[in-house]
């Protein structure tokens, strides 16, 4: 229904553009040169004032109504819902909405049917309201702007100012996203830290939130604070990241050196696309590869050597993650190595150094800040990587440094805590947001440090 309204408004805008244009031309009897702005700009001015406010109202309506409707329903059925907790009320409203507008319904009963009927009538009313409001705004905007069109009217300035405001708004979306991320993570984390003190979360060594409500001698509903110790997750993340960097750092760096200083043109023409394809493969494919090919391979190899390798060993996940990061390391290092001026290489060669001596003693030291920064970015990438570890690393939080055992990571736990869960108020699901906050802070810090390293230690050669 709202779709028709939007289409109607767009059609009105098109009509207004045409009307505004004709009126501008008519106002100077066809001598367009006497207009301050082009006729099309007058048309655009009229169209913007016709459809703009109305569309804005529709957007605000679309964002606000679900919440308003839910709260009206919750008020109207306050008596029936009084005994329920917040999650049950949410589930009730969700089901009522699903009955009313189609969707997956948990189960139905008479109260929900009544709520659904109320939902339908409220929604119909609010649809009427938005139709009337939008059309009234469109009419008001049209007549106000239509009266303004005159030869001396500076329509272009108005249109360009509005356009510029729109452009600014679009660039602010990036900031809004960041604010949204930070606020949502902090709010949910604060709710989590009300139930579990943050020092127990950051420094505790026991992690088993899946058993949060199944006992351990506590009464129902009480939160056991001691099972939210995230240290094993941090250790597991570090272990897998370390293994990944052991694979990616030397291979990526050597590949970058070879491609920038040794490889012939034809080798480069093959090797560059290979690395790009490696970078373009979705992580879920790497995860499948790790779980189905690499992990059994390591397990079999361990068996033949008499070692006990877990089927979800940190080694398999780490190695595959390393493979995924190779192109990332190599492309960043490539940029850095290429940025070292040729004169340094020529000078070194002039003193009689071989190519490898030049690279090791001249190029790499000069490029060191950039390489360190590249490695930090790669680490940040590995810490935040999700699918490979979800598919190939374990779920049990073992505090171990043995790469042959199964460990779990921060991202794995976020996924397991949130997938398939419909209620977002238990300490269990809120813990995922606390982990997300930690993840966000660490990756952000790594990125900032990487940037600083380059800025602070970069040598200026020119």
């Amino acid at each position: 229904m709202v779709g028709y309204l939007v289409l109607l408004l767009l059609a009105l805008a098109a009509a207004a553009w045409w009307l505004g244009r004709s009126r501008a031309v008519a106002s100077v009897n066809g001598e367009v040169a006497r207009l301050h702005s082009l006729p099309g700009q007058h048309g655009m001015f009229l169209a913007l004032f016709t459809a703009g406010p109305a569309l804005l109202a529709v957007i605000i309506w679309a964002m606000a109504t679900p919440g308003i409707e839910s709260s009206i329903i919750a008020n109207r059925f306050a008596a029936e819902l009084s005994g329920m907790g917040v999650p049950q009320v949410e589930a009730f409203i969700r089901d009522a909405r699903a009955i009313a507008f189609g969707g997956v319904v948990g189960f139905t009963d008479a109260t929900k049917e009544a709520a659904a009927a109320a939902y339908r009538s409220i929604h119909a009313t609010s649809l009427w309201i938005i139709w009337i409001v939008a059309l009234a705004l469109a009419a008001a905007g049209f007549f106000w702007a239509y009266g303004r069109i005159a030869p001396a009217y500076r329509a272009r300035h108005v249109v360009e100012r509005i356009l510029r405001a729109f452009l600014i708004l679009c660039s602010v979306v990036a900031i809004l996203t960041t604010i949204g991320i930070v606020l949502s993570l902090i709010f949910e984390s604060l709710r989590f830290f009300q139930q579990v003190p943050f020092y127990k979360f950051l420094f505790g060594t026991h992690w088993s939130p899946q058993s949060a409500f199944t006992g351990a001698g506590t009464e129902a509903g009480a939160v056991n604070e001691d099972i939210f110790g995230a240290v094993p997750l941090f250790a597991g993340t570090l272990l897998i990241t370390f293994i990944a960097m052991l694979v990616a750092a030397p291979i990526g760096l050597m590949a970058a050196i070879y491609l920038s200083d040794y490889a012939s043109k034809s080798v480069r023409a093959v090797a560059k696309p290979v690395l790009e394809i490696l970078a373009g493969i979705p992580t879920v494919v790497y995860g499948f590869f790790a779980a189905l090919t690499v992990a059994p391979f390591f397990r079999g190899m361990g068996e033949s050597l008499g070692l006990d390798v877990a089927s979800e060993s940190a080694l398999a996940a780490g190695v595959v993650m390393g493979i995924m990061i190779i192109p990332f390391v190599s492309s960043l290092s490539d940029d850095v190595i290429n940025a070292v001026p040729q004169s340094l290489r020529d000078g070194s060669a002039g003193l009689g150094a071989t190519k490898s001596e030049t690279i090791r003693k001249v190029v790499l030291p000069a490029a060191l800040p950039g390489i360190v920064s590249a490695m930090l970015l790669a680490v940040s990438r590995a810490i935040g990587e999700t699918m490979i570890v979800v598919m190939a690393a374990g779920l049990a939080a073992n505090l171990t440094a043995n790469p042959l055992e199964a460990v779990t990571t921060v991202t794995v736990q976020i996924v397991t805590l949130l997938v398939g869960d419909q209620e977002f108020d238990s300490a269990k699901t809120l813990a995922a947001f606390a982990l997300g906050l930690v993840l966000f802070c660490i990756t952000l810090a790594l990125n900032i440090v990487a940037l600083r390293v380059v800025q602070k230690y970069r040598e200026q050669y020119d």
Binding site: P66, G103, R156, E160, L163, R164, L167, I168, C170, S171, A174, T178, S184, L185, F187, I251, M254, A255, Y258, Y262, A271, V274, L275, I277, L278, G280, I281, P282, V284, V285, F288, F289, T293, I323, I326, S330, T354, K355, S356, E357, R360, R381, G384, T386, M387, V390, M391, T411, I414, V415, L418, V419, G420, Q422, F424, A432, F433, G436, L439, T443
Partner: protein, 536 residues
């Protein structure tokens, strides 16, 4: 000076740069040089090797899933069996089961008939119902109908479930004691004993051997039937007496002459494969009668998800991905390009724009799963948008691709030379006109390339969509932006978790489809870049 140049016999001067020690030094330096070079080449080769390994694993696994085996059965759809007036709720599966049972009149016990029915997909009846609804002319006749096989039967026929083994003629006479049930076979020599021992038979007393379900299966084909050996013992005069279970009835109990009987060894023990000896014998017979047919796997490409591997398809996920990508593109492209235009062309150098720039660079490095948390907290919990819907997935992915598109678009706008802008301004265009009429069209190919690459990145993204519930099991093909849907990478993730071997191939095949889409998108980006890129 005489330190550096000394004269040895012959009077030729030798410097420290040419003496033996120097030569040795040079040699080690050159060796180090070669080592370093080969190390670099090795790193590149290793990366290439990983790529080949990954792709070949996926392709070899995916290949069998592109075809599927059907059973051609004559189905009796005459009015006596199928009442045209009562098609709703009619048991079409029953018609198919009857036709299959007619092929095996010997199979009579309840248990065996159930095993036999298991060869056919449980969804076969649904397909038949659909086909009859489309072509009612099938009713009232007997039609040859292609029935999809169960996934294990299908995998066996593709040779992926067990070592199939080959028939080898037995170089002695074989005398059966009966034609059905438990019988004894008498072999003319004792070669069978050594053979059974070699295939994991358990030793008993007096040289007797038992073939348990943990040993290889020894199937003897003679007189038009098949006998599975269960135990062997040395008999009189160098013969071997074997106990066996008749799987397919023999025509007679006449002795088979040398070379007339054949032995087939299936090395995978019955207990460690998902298909029994009986099913293997039945399938082989169907195959030798030419009733099985391998066809292009249209079920996989054109149906939605299912718990049955042979019925599971990717079409639902492909449509879900498509809807999600449309939303992503519709949001990320206009906003991203607008933001890039503002930052590159209009923004004054002040605090706000610096913050925005730093922000965008940081957003590009935020782990994707954090965007999933944002979508969960803001779009689902705060705004109450529907779970599992492409519209929410598209919004989350749009926020994620936004920085990529902005960065690419800015680079592309920056590449347009200032002379274009100056010329436009010089003939009286306003700043907005300059940008939208002259700079933007010239930057468009680069912007499109960046956008396509960003979209390709979004298409392969999985983690944030797990957070907003797109991991649900959805059978229906999504019809709109708010219908519950899943997307291709998430479908791959879910299938990879299923234990059935049939799903492994489907997972690889789905990966192949995903990679195909990515290749197409990247190819378009490369063509755009090659065709329209201008160097100023």
């Amino acid at each position: 000076m005489t330190d550096a140049i000394s004269t040895l016999g012959g009077g030729r001067p030798v410097s420290i740069h040419t003496d033996d020690a120097a030569k040795a030094r040079l040699k080690t330096r050159y060796a180090a040089e070669m080592r370093f070079k080969w190390l670099g080449a090795g790193a590149v080769a290793l990366a290439g090797f990983f790529l080949v390994l990954l792709l070949s694993t996926v392709v070899t696994q995916a290949w069998p899933a592109l075809r599927m085996n059907y059973l051609m059965l004559p189905l009796d759809l005459s009015a006596a069996k199928v009442d045209p007036a009562k098609l709703d709720g009619f048991d079409f599966q029953g018609v198919i089961n009857d036709a299959l049972a007619a092929e095996f009149p010997d199979v009579t016990s309840r248990q065996d008939r159930r095993l036999l029915r298991g060869l056919i997909s449980t969804g076969a009846g649904t397909f038949l119902r659909k086909d009859i609804a489309e072509d009612p002319g099938m009713l009232g006749t007997t039609v040859d109908y292609a029935v999809p096989l169960d996934d294990f039967a299908d995998l066996y026929l593709k040779g992926l479930l067990a070592d199939v083994g080959t028939d080898e003629a037995i170089a002695t006479t074989v005398t059966p004691s009966g034609t059905t049930g438990d019988i004894e076979l008498t072999f003319g020599d004792d070669a069978m004993l050594a053979l059974a021992r070699g295939h994991g038979a358990t030793e008993g007393e007096n040289g007797a051997l038992t073939l348990t379900s943990g040993a290889a299966s020894l199937l003897v084909a003679l007189n038009g039937g098949t006998v599975k050996l269960t135990a062997l013992a040395p008999g009189d005069g160098g013969t071997v007496v074997a106990k066996g279970l008749v799987i397919e009835a023999l025509d007679s109990n006449a002795p088979a002459a040398t070379g007339q009987a054949a032995l087939r060894v299936i090395d995978t023990p019955e207990s460690s494969r998902k298909i029994s000896d009986k099913e293997i014998v039945w399938l082989d017979r169907l195959q030798s009668e030419g009733l099985t047919e391998s066809r292009f796997n249209s079920i996989f490409f054109f149906t939605g998800a299912s718990r049955e591997p042979e019925l599971a398809g990717v079409w639902g996920a492909v449509v879900g991905s498509f809807l999600t990508m449309i939303v992503t593109l519709a949001i990320a492209f206009p906003i991203g390009v607008s933001a890039a235009i503002y930052l590159e062309e209009f923004a004054p150098k002040n605090r706000l724009t610096t913050i925005i720039e730093v922000n965008i660079n940081n957003l590009a490095a935020v782990p994707s799963i954090v965007f999933g948390l944002l979508g969960l907290a803001v779009f689902l919990n705060f705004f109450g948008l529907p779970r599992s819907a492409p519209v929410v997935g598209g919004m989350v992915l749009a926020l994620m691709t936004l920085p990529i598109i902005i960065i690419a678009s800015r680079a592309s706008l920056r590449a347009v030379p200032p002379s274009i802008r100056e010329a436009a301004l010089g003939i009286g265009a306003s700043k907005v006109q300059t940008v939208f009429h002259h700079v933007l069209p010239l930057a468009m190919p680069g912007i499109m390339t960046g956008t396509i690459l960003g979209m390709a990145h979004a298409l392969g993204e999985t983690a944030p969509l797990l957070m907003i519930g797109m991991v649900a099991f959805i059978v229906d093909i999504p019809g709109g932006f708010t219908d519950p849907a899943t997307i291709l990478p998430v479908q791959i993730f879910m299938w990879a978790d299923f234990p059935e071997p049939g799903f492994q191939q489907k997972t690889s095949a789905a990966i192949l489809i995903l990679l195909a889409f990515l290749v197409i998108m990247n190819a378009i980006a490369v063509i755009l870049r090659k065709r329209f890129e201008r160097r100023w």
